[in-house]
Symmetry: C2
Subunit: 208 residues, 2 copies
């Protein structure tokens, strides 16, 4: 399982500092939507330039103009780019084709989709499907249970990422479950006292 | 009826040039999603600074983190900001509240929503609802017919904008119909030989 750390709602300078620290210490550094909308492609270019030892995910949340947005993000240094599952099937297809052309990866954000809707877009075999684990909405449903349920309903989907209130313990549980490819952590790492130490603790538990 | 002209998939310099020409000659200048994702808030700031005689619409296509994205766009100079109708109801509410606080406007992009879905979000009384007129999908359905049908199904919705393959004739028809508040034109103006002349022709037909 891979660890993805999200940089979001901070200044570009702070994001560059954090990315420099995280470089090579995490598998994937996420450039959050806020950094893209605040600073544009410059954010991708600058963060990618200080983080060559980790993969770069651009959380573009594309919902239209798929080919254009994916080409831009890949050409500025992204390895993985996100598209909304709520986008049209044509947009998803356009994004997927660009990802294949660039030999890069599309991540589909399943935010606000029900299982019937997910079933209509489950055939992008190389794409990663991102599940939002809502801590508020599913108080009694653990991330592990949510992944199990998802996997039962969508057996075609091979590549799964999970985000939302993920802590150290949940990461350990998900790692043992062995279904998810990527676990995404934000504030639990970025807002910790020592980002590198916290990252290492998360990384240790991933590879048990 | 107001005319909104969209700037999209061009360089920031070209967008600033076009905005300078359009300033005061159109009601609303749209900063397209591509300009936001390519250049960030700088695009809003620079375009707003050369276009003080028109309103500025930022096509943010927000789908999450509503309060953050709307605050940023308004603080950099937007008068109207877009949110996806496909966003969660909580996100729509957050965007609406920020728009009310700033005494500015939220536009809800109805892309990929069916009429049942639209009915669940029809109560933001001050918001503008954006209909995408798909020229491909509705070959036999004119923009005027589409607006009539929409108005029958969603009588609560007072403020309507329409985009998608809108030409001079369609604008004239929509103006006579008198239901839409805003008509959005992109390449028909921006890619014309003389942008100012073409804009004036569109503006004349609007106010008949």
């Amino acid at each position: 399982m891979k660890l993805q750390v999200a940089l979001d709602r901070i200044s570009l300078n702070e994001a560059i500092n954090q990315a420099t620290k995280l470089n090579g210490n995490v598998d994937i550094i996420e450039i959050g939507t806020s950094l893209i909308k605040d600073y544009g492609n410059m954010a991708i270019e600058k963060i990618a330039s200080v983080a060559s030892k980790s993969q770069i995910l651009v959380d573009s949340k594309t919902i239209d103009e798929g080919a254009y947005e994916f080409k831009q993000a890949f050409s500025y240094g992204a390895d993985i780019v996100t598209v909304m599952g709520a986008a049209s099937y044509q947009t998803l297809t356009a994004c997927y084709e660009v990802a294949q052309q660039y030999n890069k990866t599309m991540m589909i954000d399943l935010l606000n989709l029900n299982h019937e809707q997910i079933a209509t877009i489950d055939n992008f075999s190389q794409a990663i499907y991102l599940i939002h684990h809502s801590v508020d909405a599913n108080e009694e449903l653990s991330a592990v249970t949510e992944i199990s349920k998802f996997k039962t309903l969508h057996e075609h989907i091979q590549r799964i990422a999970i985000a939302g209130g993920i802590d150290y313990e949940t990461t350990s549980d998900l790692s043992q479950q062995g279904v998810s490819e990527i676990v995404i952590v934000g504030s639990k790492i970025i807002k910790s006292k020592n980002v590198i130490d916290t990252t290492r603790k998360f990384m240790e538990v991933l590879n048990v």
